[in-house]
C-alpha cells in the first residue's frame, strides 16, 4: 500500500492538473485576502462593486448599500481595512466550503483519471488487490485534501498578515482551533468525493455528479424543509452552513451533533464507493 501511495505521489507531481488545483486554491485565497472579502469569489465584479447583505449589515454599518455599491475595488479595500476589530482570516475560514471544488480536482487526479485511462487494470492485475487499491487511494486523497486544508489556514493567516499589514488579522491559535473544528466536515467532504469517484469511476461522469452535488443537496434540503415541514434547524447541517457555524464559536451540542453527522456521511459514502468498486468489472 505504501508503494502504491508513493507511486501515485510520483505520478500526480508530474501532472499539470495537480498544480492547477493548488493554483486555484491559492488564487481563491489571494483574491479573498487582497480584496478583503471572505469567500467573495463570484460575488464581486470590478467596476460594479456589490456586496452581500451580510457585508452591509455587519461590517460596514456606517455606509448605505448605495454608497457601498458605488465604491471602486480599491476604495472598498481601504474601507474594509479601516474597520476596527475585523478579522478577515477568520471569515475566510468560515467560507472554507470553497475548498470542495479544489478537492474535486484532487479526487479526479488521484482516482478517476486511473479509470478513465484504463490504467487501473495494470495495477489490479499485477500490483495489489482491490481492497488495498481502495485503501491507498482513499488515504492519498484524504491526505492531500487535509494538507491543502491546513495549508489554506496557515497561508491565509500569514498571507493576510503580510498583505494587509496585520490590520484585519486574528491570531494563529484561533485559526488553528477553527480548522480543527472544521476538520470532520472536511473529511466528510473528501469522503463524499471518494465515494462518488469510486461509484462512477469515469472522470466525465464524476465531474457531472460532484460539481453540482452540494448545490443539489442544498436544494433538496430546502425543499424537504418546506414540503415536509421539517424543523428548519436541519439546514444547520448543510455543509456550507455547518462549516461557517463551526468557525464561529459553536455550542458544545452543535459540535457533537455535527461531528456525528460528518462521521455518518463519511462512513456512508466510503461504504457505497467501496461496495460499488468491489463488485464492478473493470473495463
Amino acid at each position: 500500500m505504501f508503494n502504491m501511495i508513493r507511486a501515485d505521489i510520483y505520478r500526480i507531481t508530474k501532472s499539470i492538473a495537480f498544480y492547477i488545483a493548488i493554483g486555484i486554491a491559492l488564487i481563491m485565497l489571494a483574491s479573498s485576502i487582497y480584496i478583503v472579502q471572505p469567500g467573495s469569489v463570484g460575488q464581486i465584479s470590478v467596476g460594479d462593486v456589490s456586496t452581500t447583505d451580510y457585508m452591509q449589515d455587519t461590517i460596514i454599518d456606517n455606509m448605505s448599500y448605495e454608497e457601498i455599491s458605488g465604491l471602486s475595488l480599491g476604495d472598498l479595500r481601504r474601507e474594509m481595512l479601516n474597520i476596527d476589530g475585523y478579522a478577515l482570516d477568520k471569515d475566510i475560514l468560515a467560507s472554507n466550503m470553497n475548498l470542495y471544488y479544489v478537492f474535486i480536482f484532487i479526487a479526479a487526479i488521484v482516482i478517476t483519471v486511473d479509470f478513465s485511462y484504463g490504467s487501473v487494470k495494470n495495477t489490479l492485475t499485477s500490483a495489489i488487490n482491490r481492497n488495498r487499491y481502495f485503501a491507498s487511494k482513499t488515504l492519498l486523497v484524504m491526505g492531500i485534501c487535509m494538507l491543502i486544508f491546513f495549508m489554506n489556514t496557515f497561508i491565509c493567516y500569514f498571507g493576510n498578515y503580510i498583505i494587509n499589514q496585520g490590520k484585519v488579522s486574528s491570531d494563529l491559535w484561533t485559526l488553528t482551533k477553527i480548522s480543527l473544528m472544521q476538520l470532520p466536515a472536511m473529511i466528510a467532504l473528501a469522503s463524499l468525493l471518494i465515494g462518488i469517484a469510486f461509484t462512477f469511476r469515469k472522470t466525465s461522469v464524476f465531474n457531472v455528479v460532484s460539481i453540482p452535488f452540494i448545490m443539489v443537496f442544498q436544494l433538496i434540503l430546502a425543499a424537504a424543509v418546506k414540503i415536509f415541514s421539517i424543523d428548519p434547524k436541519i439546514a444547520d447541517f448543510e455543509f456550507q452552513i455547518m462549516i461557517s457555524k463551526l468557525s464561529d464559536e459553536p455550542s458544545g451540542s452543535y459540535i457533537t451533533r455535527s461531528f456525528i453527522y460528518c462521521a455518518v456521511i463519511s462512513a456512508v459514502f466510503l461504504g457505497v464507493g467501496f461496495t460499488s468498486f468491489r463488485k464492478s468489472e473493470i473495463k
Binding site: N3, K14, V113, K121, T125, S126, I282
Partner: protein
Amino acid sequence: MKEIIFQTKQLTKRYKNFTALDRVDMTVYREDIYGLIGRNGAGKTTVMKIVTGLADKTQGEFEIFSKKGKEADREKRLIGCLIENPSFFGGLTAYQNLKYYALQKGITDKEQIGRALDLVGLTDVKNKKFRKFSLGMKQRLGIAFAMLDNPDLIILDEPINGLDPIGISELRETFRKLNTEMGITFIISSHILSELYLVANRFVFIDRGVVLKEISKEELDLECMRCIAVKTNDIKGASVVLEKEFGISRYKIIDKEELRIYQTEISAQEINKTLIKNDIGVSSVYETGISLEDYFKSLVGEEK
C-alpha cells in the same frame, strides 16, 4: 511430467442472460507458450480478466502456481499482464509510466525499466509522452510493462494488434527468447491463428464461451497436414499391409476405422488397390489436409 502452473476447472462466467464462459477447462504447463484462439467475443478476454482479478467468476475455479482463491491472489507478483488495450497515463512519458508501475511493485532495480524498454525497442522514445505514441508503440509499452518485474508467467491479450509485420516478427522473437532463455511461460490470446501458430506450442480453441479443443502444436500439425485418409474395418491389417508393401512409417491411427498416411508420394489409388489385393475391406481412400484457417472454421462450425 511438466509442472502445471495454470489451470481452470469448469470456469464459468454469466452476465444476467448471457453466458460468457461455460465450464472452461484449460491447463498450462511451465515454459509453455499457450495460444488462446477464438473469434472476437469468444470469451478469451473474459478468461484473462477472471484470472487477473478484473472480473469475478460465477462458478468453477482456477489455480495459479498450484494456489487457489486468496492464495492465488498473492501470486500476482509472478504474473505480468496486458489485458485488452494497452492503457497508460497519456500525460506521462513511456519511462515515467513504467517508473510509476515500478514504484507500485516495489522494484528497486532502476535498470529494470531501461531493460524492459530495450526489450521492446522503445529506448529511443522513452521520453515521448504516451498520448503521442502510435498504436504499435502503445502495444510495445504494454508488453514492456508486462515484463517489468521478471515474471514467471506473462498473460497477453491480443498483443499483436496494431503492430506492423516487422513489429510482429520482432515481438515473436522476443517471446521465443524469453521463453527459451528465461523459461517464462506465456498465455497469448489472438483471433489470428496463423500468427499464434508461429510462436505457440500449445493451443486452446474457444468459441461462444466453450472450449472446443485443447491441442499441442504437433497434434495440430498432424490434423492439418496433407495426408491420405484410409477408412477401413480392419485397421490392424491395413497398417501391417502398408508397412510391408510400401514401407510406410509416417502414419497415424485416428480411430478404429480411420488411419492417416503422411507420405504423400504414394497415391491413394495405389494404396486402395494394394489393400483390396490383401483382402482388407476399404470403404474409402482420399486425400485430405486443411489450412489452419479452415481447421479453425471447421472447429467453430463454419466449414465451407
